[in-house]
């Protein structure tokens, strides 16, 4: 796909970092505010889609590498299942870090509270794993569909030239 005009590229340069940071904010605060793994991952993937549209497919492939995304996706999924396995001393998916005083382990005050980030045990870890997996996965989908669109456009242009 063709790259867009200079104004769009300048605005993209400013803004795509903020979109990625906002996405990570949504992932990390999933246990306090609305959001979590999937929602934050989708926001980060929309930053990649923005890069793809504004720079065109040929230039965007230089800084979005499919192999790294594939590795990140597998790492995210494996981290999710390994964290679930770690609770196997009691049950699968047991929240062994909640209310325990260690990493993410403060006591939770029941009811309405201003929200402490250091609570809820295993949930932020799983949110981060799912967020990693979702943004890598959606990034791969967007890149491969752009490849497919490029291929069909080349085929159509070749047919129209004949």
């Amino acid at each position: 796909m063709k790259e867009m005009s200079r104004i769009v590229k300048i605005v993209t340069n400013f803004i795509y970092g903020f979109i990625i940071i906002f996405g990570f904010y949504i992932i990390a605060h999933g246990h306090l505010t609305p959001g979590g793994g999937f929602q934050g991952g989708a926001v980060v993937a929309s930053a990649f889609a923005l890069l793809l549209i504004s720079y065109g497919q040929m230039k965007a492939k230089k800084f979005l590498n499919i192999n790294i995304f594939s590795l990140l996706e597998s790492c995210g999924l494996t981290m999710f299942i390994v964290v679930a396995f770690l609770g196997l001393g009691t049950t699968f998916f047991y929240n062994f870090l909640a209310n325990s005083g260690s990493w993410f382990g403060n006591m939770v005050i029941p009811g309405i509270n201003p929200g402490d980030m250091n609570t809820a045990g295993v949930l932020p870890l799983m949110n981060i794993a799912v967020g990693l997996e979702v943004f890598a996965g959606l990034g791969i989908i967007v890149l491969l569909m752009a490849d497919g669109a490029e291929y069909t456009k080349k085929k159509e242009n070749a047919e129209n030239d004949r």
Partner: protein, 115 residues
């Protein structure tokens, strides 16, 4: 009667989706039809948890003294939305592959398996 308005919207969504699936011949329009049915079902699930005069079920800095809507259907709807994203991505990829092989995305021209 006015409280039933979300449910009537659900029926309209699902009805439009089924109409599109039955009568349209373009593969991308079939993907849109499935997406419409799915939006209708998500709306149905969220409407099930409604209580009069309640706020969103978030404890962080919530206003005190008010009831909250049921949070379980919201978790079900979230899962359904994620599944819908994956389904749409798969159907659109298959439509692209069919275009690559046959050069057309009308159902009448693409169909080779009969009997």
């Amino acid at each position: 009667m006015i409280g039933n308005f979300p449910y009537i919207t659900v029926i309209i969504y699902i009805g439009c989706g089924i109409y599109i699936l039955m009568f349209q011949k373009n593969l991308i329009k079939l993907a849109i039809g499935i997406n419409l049915i799915e939006n209708g079902i998500n709306l149905f699930l969220i409407t099930l948890g409604f209580k009069k005069g309640a706020v969103a079920p978030i404890y962080t800095q919530a206003p005190s003294g008010q009831s909250m809507v049921l949070p379980t259907p919201q978790a079900l709807t979230l899962t359904s939305i994620v599944i819908g994203v994956a389904t749409t991505a798969l159907i659109l990829s298959m439509a692209m592959m069919i275009y690559k092989h046959y050069g057309s995305i009308e159902v009448n021209e693409v169909r080779r398996l009969r009997g």
